[in-house]
Amino acid sequence: MLFNSIDFAIFLPIVFILYWFLTNNNLKLQNLLITIASYLFYGWWDWRFLSLIIFSTLVDYSIGIALTKQKKTSHRKLLLWTSILVNLGFLGFFKYYNFFLDNFITAFSFLGQDIQTSTLNIVLPVGISFYTFQTLSYSIDVYRRKLKPTKDLIAFSAFVCFFPQLVAGPIERATHLLPQFYEKRKFDYSKAVDGMRQILWGLFKKVVIADNCAQFANQIFNNSDDMNASTLILGAIFFTFQIYGDFSGYSDIAIGTSRLFGFDLMQNFNFPYFSRDIAEFWRRWHISLSTWFRDYLYIPLGGSRGGTWIKIRNTFIIFIVSGFWHGANWTFIIWGALNAIYFLPIMLTNNNRNNLDIVAKGKYSPSIKEFLSMIITFMLTVFAWIFFRANTLDHALNYIAGIFSNTLLSTPNIENLNKVILTLCLVFVFILIEWFGRTGKYGIEKTSSYKPVRWGLYYFLILCIIYFQGEEQQFIYFQF
């Protein structure tokens, strides 16, 4: 079920009413309702893959309980590895089987060995990368004794399949989300209003910004051989806003929806395109994944402790794994590696924690230095997104070669230039709103305290959603 579909528009109020009016604030009933609603939400897409979530839930629930009973470190380790292997096994099979097989065949053909085998036609279950990481966080934290395992199967099931963030995050840490399922939840007016506001902002980002940009990004990337350099740059910029609008829009809707049910999810995006360096960008982009890798991969590998080579190794590992998490394609690996290359000089010169606060805090506009830093970081990001969006490495390299051709100063050769200009105007409005709202958790969190202005903005956003909605596109992160 898509957040921007009529199905969800019917589903959400029904679940909301049942949750607050029918359960009589009974925690067990509320958790049960969330579990059933979440299974329905997921099964709407393909009910067969529900079995994977249920199996994963049961495995991690059982391992969590077994971990408390085991005192021996070797046995505890064995249990943890069982959880890791089961979860990553599913992920590996559904997401990476064909990739490894293809590369295995190619590698052997280089050595003069022809291997006759065929790839499988595997459907990737929506959201598998997200809920796998979420359940893994539970097993690891229980193993590390950071979290007491739950005996409440319903609460644990609700934690694993919580519908607002089931298919595209934020990837919640068990230590943060699971305890919320044990606490009595009462309806909180300000939380619910804030949730509605964040849903509205998320819908605007998705339907107006991402879907409109997608139309041109797709057109340009799919016909990149026929496009001149200026059009290719435009295509990369459109994709840059498409992916941000799409993914952060989804996160906003997820967080907002959770708030309607009394839950707090972690912030997943924090105005990443206003970053002044790549380190800051990565503290602001897909925060739930970056911190997951930091806590469960980077730090166990030694983090930034140790010698220079260890730091370099760990940085490359975390960025490449992060790229690979996005998809079984060399383009994602190169995208990750490229970000590691951007990040290394900053880290090696100990400048990676220079920009912890939001840019130009307390001011209307940035200084020239801040502005230039933001532009350079933005350009580096746009460049890296080319690898992310391209279908193959060749496609990405040809795209980049096209950008550096002698047509750089020519006018864009794209159809429907009026709509391109309109979309750019919408993006500009979006940037402005984000800029003035950058001290909040999302663009319109802190709008005017004067009600008519606030409501005026909301109506403006709703009208934009209605009138400027782009052609419906599936959320990009569903494929991850």
Partner: protein, 297 residues
């Protein structure tokens, strides 16, 4: 909770009001579909020749040039499925119907329906493609048509300049009479190609029914500009000819292929549509051919 629901209600109320106003306007507003159906049903008992097909026929056959009373029920992207349904729905109310002109063009045998337009047949003709359920679309036309479509096009549409269903293009759009435009147009048409077996079955059934009702079906292919013809896939053109001739021979119905003759550029609106002058000329030719049939019959 009460405060939340109250606030939500007050916030949503203006949007809801706007929505309801649009809903009323859109249901009440004029559209070419609405206009054509109204006229078609009102004039049913006078119709002697019925023209069917897609925009080629809608823009290219002028009922005023025929001696017999003619109504043009062709429409942009109309497929054989709807040609058949439109005729059969009213057939008992058309006692004078003698000829049904069915325009079969390059793409006609490959188009089952056009998803975006099916809803118009449901709303205005009460014809549903393959008995599709339109529960949500009936609840809200604005939702089904889309706000943009509703506001931009539907409400802006005044009374259309049509005569007995014929919607003419008054001039030639010279900027699109060229090879690139033709290539693009052919590409557009081919992008929508689907499996053709069902379509041919539909055509067969349609012809059988018409013959049973003592109505003569006439298959026609209207002329297109040479740039368009040059860009067509020759295999598809030949296959179409084989199929149409087979049907024509089997049921002993006339097939008039007008694509072989060369017509001047000034008769076209674009590479695959005639303008008002082209429509006049072609309609005259068709009228003469029908007179010939009349004499034989």
């Amino acid at each position: 909770m009460k405060q939340f629901i109250k606030g939500l209600f007050f916030f949503i109320f203006p949007i809801l009001a706007l929505f309801i106003i649009l809903e009323i306007l859109v249901r009440d507003s004029n559209s070419l579909y609405k206009e054509k159906w109204k006229e078609y049903t009102a004039k049913a008992d006078s119709i002697e020749i019925l023209v069917l097909g897609n925009s080629h026929a809608m823009n290219g056959i002028d009922p005023r040039e025929f001696d017999l009373f003619t109504y043009n029920m062709a429409f942009g992207s109309q497929t054989i499925y709807f040609d058949k349904a439109i005729t059969l729905k009213q057939i008992k109310k058309m006692p004078n119907l003698k000829y049904v002109l069915v325009s079969i063009d390059y793409h006609s045998l490959y188009y089952t329906h056009n998803k975006a337009r099916d809803i118009f047949y449901h709303y205005y003709y009460k014809i549903d493609y393959n008995k599709k359920n339109y529960f949500i679309e009936d609840l809200s036309w604005v939702y089904a048509l889309g706000f943009k479509q509703t506001i931009r096009e539907h409400l802006q549409r005044g009374k259309t300049n049509s005569y007995n269903g014929f919607v003419p293009h008054n001039t030639t759009n010279w900027s699109v009479i060229n090879t690139p435009s033709a290539e693009k147009r052919v590409e557009q048409l081919e992008a929508g190609f689907r499996e053709k077996n069902n379509i041919i079955n539909n055509l067969n059934e349609f012809i059988k029914t018409l013959k049973k009702e003592k109505i003569t079906p006439i298959l026609i292919t209207l002329p297109c500009h040479k740039y368009f013809n040059e860009n067509l896939n020759k295999d598809i053109v030949n296959k179409n000819l084989v199929e149409i001739n087979k049907i024509s021979d089997f049921y002993d119905v006339p097939y008039w292929n007008l694509t072989n003759k060369k017509y001047p550029d000034s008769l076209f609106y674009n590479v695959d549509h005639l303008n008002i002058h082209g429509a006049k000329k072609i309609s005259k030719e068709l009228n003469i051919k029908i007179q010939g049939l009349n004499n034989v019959l």
